[in-house]
Subunit: 356 residues, 4 copies
């Protein structure tokens, strides 16, 4: 719970809900050494509570557990967690009411879970796209000043960042997207290896619907304290492929007016937003990198670019069915999950939203 | 070269051009024990000629080299090969003129290579789709009665089989397809493992163009000894994924008239063709299997169905941008290459085309 | 339960316990069309009981569910199952008491689970190696003539088949083995993909101990109704690798007397056993295939040889530490699990052991 | 060529031979931003010479090409390269004479290629193991003060670092090692994906012999200007597995005297060497990390530890055949190639060997 001591401490105290899961581990990795945030609480299930983090976690990150975290005691996800704000990587089976409880206890809750994403009063925030939706939190009625801010589904975030400048500059009528999504998007244990080695699974539960509905909310407008979703046709087909990290998306679009290929590339390259203007610690220098190489982007080569916070785009070509087609890549557990939530928190801190 | 002794021998003598390559090996595997064809010649590059097949080949098939083939001597690809017809799995760098030479020497040439596919007088044959294009060979002017018949690119064949009944029953205006293609499609050594393990490559040279142009030819009409390509908009985006065999395709279509989902499924399930009517040895019982399971088809589970000759379809759903979307799978080195060419040969034999 | 009607039916009625699991599915696949056995009962957990097999199973085999099985109703694993003998692919958490119950109800139980393997009165049977252990069942005291016969751990079976002829001909003092085991050995869901794609896990719970102790029992002698384990030093290190099927093992051995390399190869090639003499339906023509190619055997190329029932060996070379080293491969869910249990049943049937 | 200007420049000018290959790229990645070395020349084949590095290279590293390198012009590998010392990642087909030429032209040559490794006057250097072999270079007779220093084969380096403290403290008589090696060890294009996805290849040309002979040289003693190889029995079996980076090794050892498990772990944990004493930039804090977790080390989790320069060890257990067995992991293209060569260069610079 945010309190008056805030300005007297060097960093904001943050808790992680679901700290032992895949997204929780990524929060731990990314927040270790963060200039503004300090992990002061690790929340997890009853099974883990009481153990040290080292004991409780099946650590999967490619760097060791930060030493200052390894021996912290894991706590249950109850609202006496010693923190000012919490990042939630909770499983959607349990996230909904727990996050509500934390908000009602006065916490700022930055959630990666799907449960509150489509709540009318919750901004579904991608700072480069819809920072102007943040004031929607004023309509929230949690007690003690608590708030919930969500980041979108891991396959949605890359898409909306790529679409935003095109919508703004030229207008977009229709979007057709086919995804090739990494296994880490399913959490841990997630996808059994027998299901995915030497295979593709052409189905991810709810994913196509999430992409279609979340995108419209994010790209919508805040009018009279309500989000008016963008009117746009979006068709998504979602596949799981044997890649560890990095979601690829093959996108075709119909624009509202005829433009040249170079204009689209220019719009992407010139995209910038509040995270860049405010020089937020997790902000990529540019939200989008466009590659001219005909075989780029690729998950293995580009997912870690700009610390996993950039959207890589390439292969812009004419589409005989709609107008243009292209391929995009974004890191699903960084930009598409933990990194996105942290950027949201940075934006809120820097723009004063945690004290309105 | 076909000759008068034909009816006096038990089986047709066949040669394989490019017998040591990936497609060549698949020809050897599939033709071993074939009821109508007997491998009498293995043609390969100068480097391999003179060796036994066992010595010359880096055998990659999941079953041992057929014992009757293992010790056959590999020959150069010259037109004195002891065979009546030849299957060509030659690399496209060399296939063009060699196949022309064989045709001019009076051979029936069934080629899997791209070189002659778009020749005006060459049928691009998928028996369940366009057996009525076969008479086009009458316009060929190779000497001594030689002929060239091609089968399409491995990613095209599944698409045209899936589209054919829809075009016939309802009409199709637009097709959007995104592929997830197996590594065996690139031959051997083909895709380096460093490029594809834990990765997706969003580019396969020429593949998108091939899908777009070959499909129109196959789905076209033979009018006055010419193929009139189908007028249809096709947009393809092709990706290589870390799967050994089996090309997946995410397809969206716009139909000429409004139909119910069940009508599409019925059209697929009822598709049948000459190979089924003539009971050809390599023909699948049905050309298309439709799966109701929401996570089917999958390469690992369904690529070997009906000996790799069937097209598996699933996930038929409304498409918010076009009309319907679905996922298809076909085995790229069987239905999409060697098996397809063998089915073409069977059709020609049974329908008397080798003697016109 | 075996009964007097047996000789009047065409085939022996068999039940499968744990029919929806990985090993259970392999039993279904291998028993479909078996000349002697007919699946008359599918047993699984309470959760599955009552559903059709098609509904209950997450089918993973590379061929479709046999049509005659797909709509059979799954039953609970209770001893009123309509069958004469049962194959058990039960999870070891529950296998022990259930198998005991079935034996006490008069069933012949052929189990792939670990629970009864080291029981003093249970033969741990690999027909080409220790068919002479079968009389040990006479010491069993299950009611109504029930029996339990086990097959060994999937990594043990290849090793003992390779060692048997060497022990018999030359004597073996020490065995050092390092395994590279396939993911299917862990069942389903088994190994999470996040743990094994682009990775090796150098640990499989209990596996090293199993290889060390089971091998000694199998290679031991039946003396006075007791198995006297072979006195031999065996050291095993077990690794999980990202391979779907086929366990590789790098073996070094110290022999009791000096022999030439060719003598070892000859001993392997000449190995034969009761399954071959009796021409059992699942018996490979030869239990061992030796390859001279320096880069053989390989899981992808050789695991399916002889329908997955053969042990492939290669790379026999001098070992500077012990005497010789070599590499072996066997299919872990066929020879190492379901296929091995079926071969055991065939041996028992043909040699009259089910009626002693 | 080293020259008198050296002390007046801020950094040592270094060239990379074979700069576009897999090891060459790793040199570029690791040397970018190095405190002591500055890349001033990129040498490659005639085919690449004249192009910019960006044009010439098929960049495979997980970070972008360093901007200061991307537009450097690639040069042929001739001895007028503007550099004081050269790192060679040349293919062994061509490395031998080119490296000799560079040495005769007065360059310090730090080579990762195998060609000169077993030369009598070339130190096969692993600084934590045999820094005392460095004076062997005094016996070299290249003109103009040129020198060649080699680092060992990628699978050898981890083994000798693990063995060194055991040999020193307890004596080691016999070593049995089975490797599970990553595909990057074969360079680019290297291992075809069709050969390794869902597969293990139990053979790497020359690798077993290299491990056996190189280890003895590295672990030997410099006596009277000659390396006296260690007398020890080493048996290696080498496998390629579908892992991108990180070689695993299953090692069994026979010690000269009986020691407790804890003593071995202590010896590993206390190992330190000149790189640590001299605080070399590429030196890991400790050369060896021992893990108590029963399923560690793993390539995916630990290969990047200490920037890929540490040897991770775990699973120390009694070996029923020798004395102890354990598993080790080291990063094959960093510690086992480019990083190892750079550490060698740092050692030479800091210890004054480039001016003797």
């Amino acid at each position: 719970m945010m309190n008056s001591e805030f300005f007297f401490r060097e960093k904001v105290s943050v808790g992680i809900l679901g700290a032992t899961g895949t997204v929780g581990q990524k929060f731990v990795q990314l927040l270790s050494g963060h200039p503004w945030f300090e992990i002061t609480a690790l929340g997890a299930s009853e099974k883990s509570a009481g153990k040290t983090y080292r004991e409780a976690v099946n650590w999967q990150m490619p760097v060791p557990i930060p030493p200052e975290i390894a021996d912290m005691k894991v706590l249950p996800c109850t609202t006496d967690l010693p923190a000012d704000l919490v990042f939630s990587g909770l499983d959607s089976n349990v996230a909904g009411p727990i996050e509500t409880d934390f908000a009602n206890a006065g916490f700022i809750v930055l959630t990666n879970s799907k449960n509150h994403r489509m709540d009318k009063d919750v901004p579904l925030l991608v700072p480069e796209v819809n920072a102007d939706h943040l004031p929607l939190v004023k309509t929230q009625t949690y007690q003690h000043g608590g708030l919930i801010i969500a980041n979108p589904n891991c396959s949605t975030v890359g898409l909306v960042i790529a679409l935003k400048p095109l919508i703004k500059e030229f207008g977009v009528e229709k979007v057709h997207v086919v995804t090739l999504q990494a296994i880490s998007g399913a959490g841990y244990p997630g996808v059994p290896s027998l299901d995915i080695i030497d295979n593709v699974i052409p189905y991810i539960p709810d994913e196509e619907l999430k992409m279609q509905t979340e995108s419209k909310k994010i790209l919508g407008e805040l009018v009279n304290n309500e989000i008016k979703p963008l009117e746009i046709a979006i068709s998504a087909q979602c596949n799981r492929v044997p890649v560890t990290n990095g979601h690829m998306e093959c996108v075709s679009i119909k624009l509202k007016r005829k433009v040249e290929k170079q204009e689209l590339i220019k719009a992407w390259q010139e995209l910038t937003g509040l995270p860049q203007d405010l020089d937020l610690p997790s902000a990529p220098e540019k939200p989008i990198l466009y590659y001219n190489e005909e075989n780029y982007p690729q998950p293995k080569l580009h997912r870690e670019s700009s610390n996993g916070m950039v959207v890589s785009i390439g292969r812009l070509n004419d589409c005989p069915v709609l107008d243009y087609k292209f391929t995009l890549l974004s890191h699903n557990t960084i930009r598409g999950a933990a990194g996105g939530a942290i950027l949201n928190a940075e934006l809120m801190l820097k723009s004063g939203y945690i004290y309105w």
